[in-house]
């Protein structure tokens, strides 16, 4: 919580909440009632913001969870004589369960399908409520008791408002803590690039489910509050238009931005009231105002800012125990076999086309091994098979002596195989430091709850992680850039950051897919140095690269692939003089362009 107080925006937020808290003492009941509507929308929008803003999943049926919460409270109170407080756990439970039921099958789909499925779900819930007898059909449910606190019924607008405000503060604290936790970081990484997130160890399906379910819980809570406030509910409050209103709040305010979402709620729920004097023209002016606001501020009224986590200072990071990576790697690999990885008869077929056929090779611990070959030879497909992105059609991958069964990529990362991508895939809208932290979050031991409660042992582990993350930035030479937006880094730095992010998971094997593409010779020189230093840490390196100067200069062994098969392997000099390799890949030296080969020998001397 200490982070809450040391920023001007947080201070402003606390002042705003204080103003909201004393509002009932000097305002008319009508104003308080409008303020309560704003608070209700605020709660709902904060919940939807987790789904849409943090995790980037489009949900068009969010009002369904609102409805489930409201009907649960209404039915339990009217049929089973529960009091308001007793109904809340059930509201949360039912909303959460429906979140799982809807989310589990659909979150595997692409996000636009999810939007359609949620749209359908929202309508189904409304139609069920309209048609069942138990829910009172179109007339809804009457006679819901107000919330009761210490023997007093909370019936007056002011007391219900106070209750709503307490709920809002609880939700606020939850979403702020979540946003700063590793789960919040995982959500953002998912929104930025789902495949890259999976490849650095984020269990994307589970993380999406969590966003969806936590969003559902908050929606259910909003529904309970709504039922207790009005004493009556009917299906007309839970329409598609309601879902869209909540979505508009999030988009208008600024996706992922908590102050933005609250500002959006004030405008969407408050502006129509302020425009009452316009009578018939009210809706028209409101709609025009919304369009103008979106045109002027397409990013939202208060766009989300970069989350800044300050890395620890150099002394602090170096003084932290267990920051010595090389020792740690040596510890984990002690007693493991010398053959780190073995591909046995690995094949991969794409619709009849054999991209990789019967490929065999071994990777020895501590070596730098390169795979070269013409474009389309199947090199990246081999990488994808090793890292679980696509399962091999046949054959086996033996990792540390045991077969690597068909695991999801994030599980492969946890086993110690990390990779970078051919085209750079960073999380552009996270800071440089946070990109590295995402890469190591799968190694956290403490539970999410203890992290959010900032328990002392959780804080200690977080500190260790931050220190290690800082050291990885230092390893690739990006310490000074830690606080920058990753997407703003120049190209060469982005490449190095991608390597740091992969290293942060402390892999035993690092797979680099064309790391030198687009680098100039000076940058390639420093990349060669970096690759050697990675190997010196004890991390084995498997490299796909077209730059022969780099490959021949840095590799211990080279494997050559052509048309899905291994056509040669051996030391750099053996491979370079192999006639099949020259024919398929390097090219015969028929004209003056052969400097690439000439340069290789220069490089070997240097």
């Amino acid at each position: 919580m200490q982070g809450l107080l040391n920023r001007p925006i947080s201070a402003a937020g606390i002042v705003a909440l204080a103003v909201a808290a004393i509002l009932p003492f000097f305002c008319h009941n009508y104003i308080v009632d409008v303020a309560l509507t704003i608070v209700t929308y605020g709660i709902l929008a904060l919940g939807l913001n987790i789904v849409v803003g943090y995790a980037g999943l489009l949900d068009l049926g969010y009002a369904a969870f609102f409805a489930i919460g409201a009907y649960t409270t209404a039915l339990l109170e009217t049929l089973l004589n529960f009091n308001f407080w007793e109904t809340i756990p059930f509201s949360l439970l039912f909303a959460g369960i429906s979140g799982i039921i809807i989310g589990y099958p659909t979150l595997r789909l692409r996000s636009d399908y999810l939007a359609i499925v949620t749209l359908g779900f929202g309508e189904i819930v409304r139609i069920i409520a309209t048609n069942l007898d138990i829910t009172g059909g179109p007339n809804g449910i009457y006679g819901i008791n107000p919330a009761n606190l210490l023997g007093h019924d909370l019936t007056s607008p002011k007391s219900v408002y106070a209750l709503g405000l307490v709920f809002l503060v609880c939700v606020l604290i939850l979403v702020i803590r979540l946003g700063r936790s590793r789960l919040g970081r995982a959500w953002t990484s998912l929104r930025e690039d789902e495949n890259a997130a999976e490849a650095v160890g984020v269990p994307t399906l589970r993380v999406k489910m969590l966003a969806y379910v936590i969003g559902a819980l908050i929606g259910g809570l909003g529904g309970s509050l709504f039922a207790a406030r009005f004493g009556t509910i009917d299906p007309s409050s839970f329409t598609y238009a309601q879902s869209v209103s909540i979505l508009i709040i999030v988009v208008l305010g600024g996706r992922g931005s908590i102050p933005g979402v609250l500002l959006g709620a004030i405008i969407i729920a408050g502006l129509p009231e302020a425009l009452r004097f316009l009578n018939l023209w009210r809706e028209f002016v409101f709609a025009i105002a919304l369009i103008l606001l979106m045109l002027v501020r397409p990013q939202g009224l208060w766009p989300a800012r970069l989350r800044h986590i300050a890395p620890p200072s150099a002394e602090d990071a170096h003084a932290t125990p267990h920051a010595e990576v090389a020792e740690q790697i040596a510890e984990t690999t002690a007693g493991e076999p010398d053959v780190l990885l073995e591909a046995r008869d690995v094949s991969r077929v794409f619709g009849g086309l054999k991209a990789v056929s019967n490929v065999n090779f071994t990777v020895h611990r501590g070596e730098i091994l390169s795979i070269i070959g013409p474009n389309g030879a199947g090199k990246t497909t081999v990488f994808n098979c090793l890292t679980g992105v696509i399962p091999p059609s046949a054959g086996a991958i033996i990792w540390n002596g045991k077969p690597l069964a068909k695991l999801a990529p994030h599980k492969v990362v946890a086993r110690g195989l990390a990779r970078t991508f051919q085209g750079i895939r960073l999380f552009d809208n996270l800071t440089v430091f946070e990109n590295v932290l995402v890469g190591m979050d799968h190694r956290f031991h403490v539970s999410l709850a203890s992290e959010m409660l900032a328990l002392s042992y959780a804080r200690r582990e977080t500190h260790l992680h931050h220190a290690a993350g800082r050291n990885w930035l230092e390893f690739v030479g990006l310490t000074a850039q830690a606080g920058l937006r990753a997407g703003d880094l120049p190209y060469g730095d982005q490449r190095r950051l991608e390597i740091a992010r992969a290293l942060a998971g402390q892999p035993q094997l690092l797979l680099l897919d064309e790391p030198a593409a687009g680098m100039n010779p000076t940058e390639k020189q420093s990349l060669m140095g970096l690759i050697r230093r990675i190997r010196d840490l004890g991390t084995t390196v498997l490299l796909i690269e077209h730059d022969m100067l780099l490959v021949m200069g840095v590799s211990d062994r080279v494997i050559v692939m052509d048309r899905g098969q291994v056509i040669a392997s051996g030391s750099p000099s053996e491979v370079q003089s192999n006639p099949r390799v020259i024919e398929a890949y390097l090219g015969a030296g028929e004209d003056e362009d052969e400097d690439s080969l000439a340069a290789v020998s220069e490089g070997a001397v240097a």
């Binding site: 013409p374 474009n375 389309g376 060469g492 100039n520 010779p521």
Partner: protein, 241 residues
């Protein structure tokens, strides 16, 4: 004859100015290389020339006509073709469909469009074999050929290429460079951005070195290849010799 003349070109993103008034020329039948480290502004230069980024100052003349800040499709119609970085093909379309889209501006002249596509198959026989294959399933070198062929359909006067060798096998790089030389010999002007400075300076006639948004050096390619600073910064390691 001067085909492209750029004077005092200024470009920026937001508050940051990326190009601080650069000037360069490309003549007909000439390969001009634009070298520089990452982030120097090479891609921005190309994107501004072809109308994808707005210029804040300066002017761009193509064949005597001002094209500064014209919309990209008009600049393409006037004879400047841009082969973008990473090729940017229409991956779910076939090779032939990609080429047809390159000829979008030749509407209502089916016969002419077909003639030009056939000419591309003569230049790139490999693409004839692959004409019905989806572009996204081609190898990197074949994709680069499609990207160049797509740009050539409009029979440009000036061809602008952004890192055509990126991610390609050495053998393929050589054949792409051979095609670029052939186009030059047919009288086309070529502006080439490359990281592969060594090979680029061999095929280029002249070159500019762009650093921090300004032209630091210019001259004919052979001279620049001997320049100490160029060797140290872009040819790598040769400085020791």
């Amino acid at each position: 004859m001067t085909l492209l003349n750029v004077e005092g070109l200024q470009v920026g993103y937001g508050k940051v100015e990326v190009l601080h008034g650069i000037g360069l020329t490309v003549g007909t039948g000439e390969i001009v290389a634009l070298l520089g480290s990452n982030g120097a502004g090479k891609t921005t230069t190309l994107r501004t020339l072809s109308g994808l980024e707005p210029a804040r100052g300066g002017k761009v003349m193509l064949d005597g006509q001002a094209i500064t800040n014209l919309p990209a499709h008009k600049i393409a119609a006037l004879g400047l073709a841009h082969v973008p970085e990473r090729r940017r093909l229409f991956a779910p379309l076939t090779v032939e469909e990609n080429l047809k889209l390159g000829g979008y501006l030749i509407r209502n002249q089916q016969a002419e469009l077909k003639r030009r596509i056939d000419a591309m198959y003569v230049l790139f026989p490999r693409l004839l074999e692959r004409r019905l294959q989806l572009a996204g399933t081609l190898s990197g070198g074949e994709q680069q050929m499609v990207a160049i062929a797509r740009a050539l359909i409009l029979q440009p006067k000036l061809l602008v290429l952004d890192e055509p060798s990126m991610g390609l096998a050495p053998l393929v790089v050589r054949s792409i460079f051979a095609i670029i030389k052939r186009l030059r010999d047919q009288g086309m002007g070529i502006l080439l951005v490359e990281q592969n400075a060594r090979q680029t300076l061999k095929i280029a006639d002249r070159a500019y070195v762009l650093e921090n948004g300004g032209i630091m050096l210019e001259g004919d390619a052979a001279t620049l290849a001997q320049d100490r600073r160029v060797q140290a910064a872009y040819l790598g390691g040769a400085a020791a010799a």
